[in-house]
């Protein structure tokens, strides 16, 4: 197996599979098995091994760090259906099989937004909730004229349906490690190429004709539906567990463009918001040491 090196990156101490609702999910752990658990939840189109550099910092501080590949991502099973509620049910399945006590949960991007909803629905699972640039705000589309919105929706729907007609035979494009890393750089423009090359070796598989991301080829960017991102923010003010949000100040393709003033009024009582002015969406990768230290300090002072 080819594995690139990246300073500070460590393979998980344990990797195993769990079944949730019949779906096989890959779980990765760093740190002592007997330490108290802390959960990391990755974002859309990412996978648990993107925590290879961040997780060991938390594990070294005495946590059993547990992350899983969401269905269709990383080493988890590719399913027929994907959905927001299904991702939350999968999370409950993994968390519930690790512990039945409240534990800290750190979610990045979509993983952060998923955990806001789970913390609202099942608060007893959370001792703390930490959100890394996964704070949704008002959808920019809402401000566009009605006829423009209708036209944009039509394009989104047609594109998505055309994609669904061919997903049964679709596969990800093969390439060299360097080609996959450079492709990912389009969506992760602020991350070092060396890190993206490392990710290829843990998030892609090597076929006879080259490397392919393990991500299910039926998944695609964009999409449409009745849910509005700003509705997730309505679940924030009522959260009862200690809450820390870290908001990226630098906008980039995978970010959500949320501005501090849009979220400050939605914070739960006593909740904290750190605005990282010079950092992009992948805060825990760009400034891994600082973000890990902030998380650990927050856990220490609120426990």
């Amino acid at each position: 197996m080819t594995t690139a090196e990246f300073p500070g990156a460590q393979s998980p101490a344990r990797t195993y599979s769990l079944r949730v609702g019949g779906v096989r999910l890959a779980v990765h752990e760093w740190g002592s098995e007997t330490a108290p658990p802390l959960f990391l939840v990755h974002g859309g189109f990412d996978f648990a091994r993107t925590f290879d550099e961040f997780a060991p910092r938390l594990a070294t501080a005495g946590w059993r760090v547990v992350a899983w590949d969401q269905r269709g991502h990383g080493d988890s099973e590719h399913t027929a259906l994907y959905g927001w509620d299904a991702d939350i049910r999968d999370a409950i399945g993994v968390i519930g099989q690790v512990t039945n006590k409240p534990a800290p949960v750190v979610g990045h991007s979509k993983g952060g937004a998923l955990m806001i909803q789970l913390a609202d629905a099942q608060p007893f699972r959370f001792s703390h909730l930490i959100n890394l640039d996964g704070l949704p705000s008002k959808q920019p589309m809402s401000d566009t004229a009605e006829h423009d919105r209708t036209r944009m929706l039509a394009g989104d729907i047609t594109g998505w349906l055309d994609h669904r007609r061919i997903t049964a035979t679709a596969s990800r494009k093969a390439g060299t490690i360097d080609e996959l890393a450079r492709r990912r750089a389009n969506m992760n423009p602020r991350l070092p190429l060396e890190w993206l090359r490392y990710l290829v070796t843990v998030g892609a598989r090597e076929d006879a004709d080259g490397w392919r991301w393990k991500l299910d080829a039926s998944m695609r960017f964009g999409g449409f539906g009745p849910w509005r991102p700003e509705w997730t923010a309505t679940r924030l003010p009522g959260l009862g567990m200690p809450f820390l949000g870290m908001l990226a100040g630098q906008q980039e393709p995978m970010g959500w463009g949320t501005l501090p003033h849009q979220i400050e009024s939605q914070l739960p009582l006593g909740g904290k918001l750190h605005v990282l002015a010079d950092i992009g969406h992948f805060v825990h990768i760009e400034q891994s040491a600082m973000v890990a230290e902030t998380v650990l300090e927050f856990l220490a002072e609120t426990t």
């Binding site: 027929a80 259906l81 509620d85 299904a86 399945g93 539906g225």
Partner: protein, 222 residues
């Protein structure tokens, strides 16, 4: 009854030909927890084209996938896979199938030659905006109808303005003056909003089918 198995991602969709015929197909979309009928319903008697019924994912003879993850948008894609096979069709949807019929009429306005929205299971759907949520994992084995489908599709969000967008797309791009007929007696908020749209007519199922059988396109569209 002849059945074709169509492929939608990892799901095999059962599309049943309930009656052969010549001309445009009539496609029936069932309600939540139902399946396609085995025989053409009596009200299809005057339709001269073939009559088909689709089993949505997790229903009837279609695949019951593991782990759920259903949305009305997934069923919209099921209907689109059927249209890719049939070409132009007129739709009759019951309950949840009525909501899907509305969506696909807006999404594929040149393929759908009129949709009739009827009462049936799953017509209401879930909340119209954010609501308290609950999550229960249902362990397999499952059989049709998939219990995950029954849970997830009975509470899918149905904001009225979202449903209206599909009605507007249908009216703007279908070429029919009135591409959507509401035969349902019950009008949940999404359907009440759709009913208020220009180009949506309220009438009986029989009248709607008679109208769509002879429908002509508006001269200003394609």
């Amino acid at each position: 009854m002849n059945t074709d198995l169509l492929t939608h991602n990892k799901v095999r969709l059962a599309l049943h030909q309930l009656r052969p015929g010549t001309g445009r197909a009539l496609l029936l979309l069932h309600g939540l927890g139902e399946a396609s009928p085995n025989e053409p319903p009596p009200w299809t008697k005057r339709w001269v084209g073939p009559v088909y019924g689709l089993d949505f994912t997790g229903h009837g003879m279609s695949t019951v996938p593991l782990g759920g993850g259903y949305s009305a948008e997934t069923l919209l894609a099921d209907a689109d896979i059927a249209l890719a096979h049939l070409g132009e069709a007129t739709l009759v949807g019951r309950g949840l199938g009525a909501y899907v019929a509305l969506m696909i009429t807006g999404a594929r306005p040149r393929l759908v030659r009129g949709a009739v929205l009827c009462d049936g299971p799953g017509l209401w759907g879930g909340a119209t905006g954010p609501a308290s949520s609950s999550f229960v994992n249902i362990e397999p084995p499952y059989s049709a109808p998939d219990p995950n489908a029954l849970v997830e599709l009975s509470r899918d969000l149905r904001p009225p303005d979202y449903a209206q967008l599909f009605a507007r797309l249908a009216v703007e791009h279908s070429g029919l003056v009135e591409p959507i007929a509401v035969a349902a007696v019950v009008r949940p908020p999404w359907l009440a909003a759709v009913t208020d749209e220009v180009g949506v007519v309220c009438c009986s199922l029989d009248d709607a089918l008679a109208g769509f059988a002879t429908a002509v396109s508006r001269p200003d569209v394609g």
